[in-house]
């Protein structure tokens, strides 16, 4: 099945709507907003292929191609996924969010198409009403624009590029300007980072990193305290934590986060 670039965002949305109308068990992992779709179409990085039961989309990237899908009834998803071409020396990454029971049949289709389970993240949330004591005198501060390059370098160096949505430098700068990147310093250098996004009454913790040589000094605690203080009016805090990282999970639980039922399964084909 040849992949082709969509002519417009409307064509993409119409294909997904067609799949939903024709199936009884609609599922998708295509959550790009309209601005991101338009940007990908303009850049020529979005391709798609479809049949009666499923649409598969690929967003080309420098390191890997991300695969999205919309499927109506699992009749031909595996075949459609298998038709996605692999770039030379590249790989395909896809993710699927849901409960284990919801996602198992779809993951089976990915596995039949040559994908393997790469890693998985658990969803955690924290209601602001939870009574957890955090320090009131936080030493962390909002990052400065001149910190942006260092922050990008740390995030791209310490987080997995296939599964953790590494931002580009412009995205880092935008977040720094919005004052949603908090840091602690050692001399002139950044020693720890906490990056969050915020929408309305909700906030998601994206990155929380203390450089190895500065661990054990309470820097992570200071960042978290500043985060909760800055977001005192937020009603819900969310994050994704790697399922195998029990230490991180316990830390988040210490700050009042609890596990939600959703898991994000990262799938990879090489």
């Amino acid at each position: 099945m040849p992949m082709q670039p969509p002519t417009s965002i409307v064509e993409v949305r119409q294909q997904i709507a067609r799949i939903k109308a024709g199936g009884t068990e609609f599922i998708t992992n295509f959550f790009l907003d309209d601005a991101a779709i338009e940007q990908a179409i303009r850049a020529g990085t979005l391709l798609f292929a479809f049949n009666d039961d499923a649409v598969v989309m690929v967003r080309r990237g420098a390191l890997f191609d991300r695969v999205y899908f919309a499927d109506g009834n699992r009749a031909s998803l595996s075949r459609t996924l298998a038709s996605v071409p692999l770039a030379p020396d590249g790989c395909l990454i896809s993710d699927l969010i849901g409960t284990a029971a919801e996602t198992a049949p779809v993951i089976d289709q990915f596995v039949s198409a040559g994908f393997s389970r790469f890693t998985e993240f658990r969803s955690m949330y924290r209601a602001n009403s939870c009574n957890v004591d955090v320090e009131r005198r936080a030493m962390a501060e909002a990052a400065l624009e001149e910190d942006a390059e260092q922050i990008w370098s740390y995030i791209s160096g310490y987080f997995d590029p296939y599964s953790e949505h590494i931002p580009d430098q412009q995205e880092v700068l935008t977040a720094v300007k919005a004052r949603t990147v908090l840091v602690t310093r050692n001399g002139g250098s950044v020693s720890a980072i906490l990056w969050y996004d915020r929408k309305g009454a909700s906030s998601i913790l994206r990155y929380w990193l203390v450089l190895p040589q500065f661990r054990g000094r309470g820097l992570g605690k200071q960042l978290m305290a500043r985060y909760f203080n800055d977001c005192a009016d937020v009603r819900s805090f969310r994050l994704w934590v790697q399922s195998s990282n029990c230490r991180a999970m316990r830390l988040y639980q210490h700050y009042g986060y609890v596990l939600a039922s959703r898991t994000d399964y990262i799938l990879k084909r090489t």
């Binding site: 949305r13 119409q14 997904i16 709507a17 067609r18 799949i19 939903k20 109308a21 009884t24 609609f26 599922i27 998708t28 959550f31 907003d33 969010i97 849901g98 949330y125 924290r126 209601a127 915020r198 929408k199 309305g200 009454a201 909700s202 906030s203 009603r235 819900s236 939600a260």
Partner: protein, 76 residues
């Protein structure tokens, strides 16, 4: 309407949806939640919400969700 609130609270248990007038603007539902919500509504009301109706404004309040269910043949 209580059923809609129950479905919403299962998707985002940390929120009290009865206190918000705009779930999207308040950051209580994101695009992933909307797709999960559509699936739950489809199953519960035995309907199939049209794909073209899966836009944030149709999920901004219990009244908008109720209207969406009604338009797609569901009985509240």
């Amino acid at each position: 309407m209580n059923t809609v609130l129950k479905i919403l609270s299962e998707i985002r248990p940390e929120f009290d949806f009865s206190t918000s007038e705009d779930f999207i603007a308040d950051g209580m539902l994101d695009s992933l939640d909307v797709v999960t919500l559509v699936s739950a509504i489809d199953k519960h009301y035995r309907i199939s919400i049209a794909g073209t109706e899966i836009v944030p404004e149709n999920f901004s309040s219990t009244a908008m969700i109720a209207a969406l269910i009604h338009r797609n043949g569901g009985r509240l």
